[in-house]
């Protein structure tokens, strides 16, 4: 098995703040890998650094055997796409779904745009009835489906998911997660998924990495997490916190 994503001692520095302190990571092709940690632990920054949206100070990122330079080329964007956390902020307010989906096709010069848009909408379970709506005419779950369709329309092999369901209510959350699962199975995608919800990570991912203060705390398999085979205190605390509020007598 080849590694789809290999990150070596990655540092990200915003002004003078070290958001990532030498994080290394390897994700196998076809694998679903989770990143967990509290707010500000650097998990979203890691995703953004891979996508080229955060300033990388040192370290290297290798995608499908190719090491990335400071500037991403078009070929990279056809390999790696991202779904953002907030479905209310990730769709352009003045564009119809049709226009949103057409944009990546126009940029990459696809000729069969019409067919691809219809297929992409079908794939995320929206159908063509939603094609000419504006973002404000869609619910949160529908918006996130559109965002997923937009990410998939370039047929990437790696999908970066930045808390894709945290802004949605529980039942819609399950729908979107199932959709992502199904898409991954059908297209044999590699997922790198950020979440603060351990239940979602154990459900979706085979392996995961716990992060704190821009550093990797430990790497586990989902089984380890379920059986509580953890070695670090921080992970234990995180597990306890995820059990939620416990009433004592």
């Amino acid at each position: 098995m080849t590694s789809a994503l290999f990150i070596d001692r990655l540092e990200v520095i915003f002004d003078r703040f070290r958001a990532l302190k030498g994080v290394s990571l390897e994700v196998q092709s076809g694998e679903s890998f989770g990143l967990v940690g509290e707010s500000g632990s650097g998990k979203s920054t890691l995703l953004r650094a891979i996508a080229g949206l955060a300033p990388v100070a040192s370290g290297s990122i290798t995608v499908n055997g190719k090491t990335l330079g400071p500037r991403r080329d078009k070929a990279f964007y056809r390999e790696v796409q991202m779904v953002f956390q907030d479905p209310y902020g990730s769709l352009h307010p003045r564009q119809t779904v049709d226009r949103l989906l057409q944009e990546p096709l126009a940029i990459h010069g696809f000729a069969d745009g019409e067919k691809r848009i219809v297929r992409a909408l079908d794939e995320v379970g929206l159908g063509t009835g939603f094609r000419f709506r504006y973002a404000h005419q869609l619910s949160g779950g529908q918006r996130q489906r559109v965002a997923i369709a937009r990410a998939l329309i370039l047929e990437p092999s790696i999908l970066l998911l930045d808390e894709p369901t945290s802004a949605l209510d529980a039942s819609v959350q399950a729908e979107v997660l199932n959709l992502l699962e199904e898409v991954r199975r059908r297209r044999k995608l590699t997922f790198l998924m950020v979440s603060h919800d351990l239940a979602i990570i154990t459900h979706m991912c085979e392996r995961l990495m716990v992060m704190q203060n821009g550093e990797a705390v430990e790497k586990l398999t989902a089984d380890d997490l379920v059986r509580r085979h953890v070695t670090k205190d921080y992970t234990r605390n995180l597990l306890r916190a995820s059990e939620g509020f416990v009433r004592t007598a």
């Binding site: 991403r72 796409q81 991202m82 907030d86 990546p104 940029i107 939603f130 000419f132 709506r133 504006y134």
Partner: protein
């Protein structure tokens, strides 16, 4: 009865459909919502009517004007008071003021439209590029803007006209050069609010070039506030053009430009008030029309109001 109702009602439903079936329907539906919001505002509607009337008058000046705007009857018709034959009276060269005002509407429109066409795109381009690029590009572009903003508008326009020579084309150019900086500021401010949003990041992630992002994703968001501002500025543009005309640096006689007409009526404003009063009133009405229209457009197009 029912049949006559079914037509417009279904057309309305078609426009407001939650599930538009084509690009065209989605666009028309959007325009219809904006139009409903606009026409609910009575004063804005009055403004629109005034501007439409101005357009009609300018287009059909040849038909509407009873006399020639430039050739007067020096022998019999000098400085006549308003009457049935000459609705707004005549000026010192025996020319019918009503006809001159009707022809003058063309020059007013000419100035306003040319200034808008020149100044708004310059401001939009400078502002969005500065806002999106940031860094030294932003610094250089905005300092240039600041330099233009530092001069009083009319004084700078006067300097340009003095350098280029008097005439309506140069007046237009001078006004355009002095009126783009506020548009650049607005466009930059709008750009700064959207440049770090996820939907712009998402377009970057598709591999779009900065040029494409500015042109296709940021500019459309700035256009509506710019349209509002330009419309509100139109009154000021008309007044500046009239001011330059009044000072003898804009339109030259015998061109029937309203500012120039006021300047020539100045000498007998106490005895023959209508010579300066009629064009002054025309400027007042048109400026008011643009202001009301601008206010209405602000309510209809403001991206921050409602879910648009």
């Amino acid at each position: 009865m029912t049949a006559s109702h079914a037509g417009p009602l279904s057309r309305r439903d078609w426009l407001l459909s939650e599930r538009p079936a084509s690009r065209m329907q989605a666009r028309l539906g959007r325009a219809y919502v904006a139009w409903r919001r606009f026409s609910a505002n009575r004063l804005a509607f009055v403004g629109l009517l005034i501007i439409l009337a101005l357009l009609v008058v300018a287009a059909f000046a040849d038909v509407l004007a009873p006399y020639s705007p430039t050739i007067g009857d020096l022998k019999n018709a000098r400085l006549l008071a308003p009457s049935a034959a000459h609705w707004f009276g005549t000026d010192d060269l025996g020319r019918d003021i009503y006809s001159r005002i009707i022809y003058g509407s063309r020059w007013t429109l000419y100035v306003v439209i040319l200034v808008a066409i020149i100044a708004a795109p310059i401001g939009l381009l400078v502002g969005t590029v500065a806002g999106y690029a940031g860094g030294w590009t932003d610094a250089v572009l905005m300092r240039i803007t600041d330099i233009f903003l530092a001069f009083p508008k009319l004084i700078l326009a006067l300097a340009f006209v003095a350098a280029l020579g008097p005439g309506i084309e140069n007046a237009v150019l001078a006004i355009a050069i002095t009126s783009w900086p506020p548009y650049a500021r607005i466009a930059r401010a709008e750009t700064l609010t959207v440049r770090n949003s996820d939907y712009i990041k998402a377009v970057q992630l598709m591999g779009a070039s900065p040029f494409r992002i500015v042109l296709r994703h940021i500019m459309p968001l700035c256009v509506s506030s710019l349209i509002v501002r330009v419309t509100l500025d139109m009154a000021g543009i008309i007044l500046t053009a009239a001011g330059l005309g009044f000072l003898g640096l804009g339109a030259q006689p015998p061109l029937p430009e309203w500012g120039t007409m006021i300047a020539s009526g100045r000498r007998f404003v106490l005895d023959q008030w209508w010579v300066a009063g009629a064009p002054g009133f025309a400027i007042l009405i048109v400026s008011l029309g643009f202001n009301l229209l601008g206010d209405g457009l602000r309510d209809a197009l403001d991206p921050r109001s409602g879910d648009q």
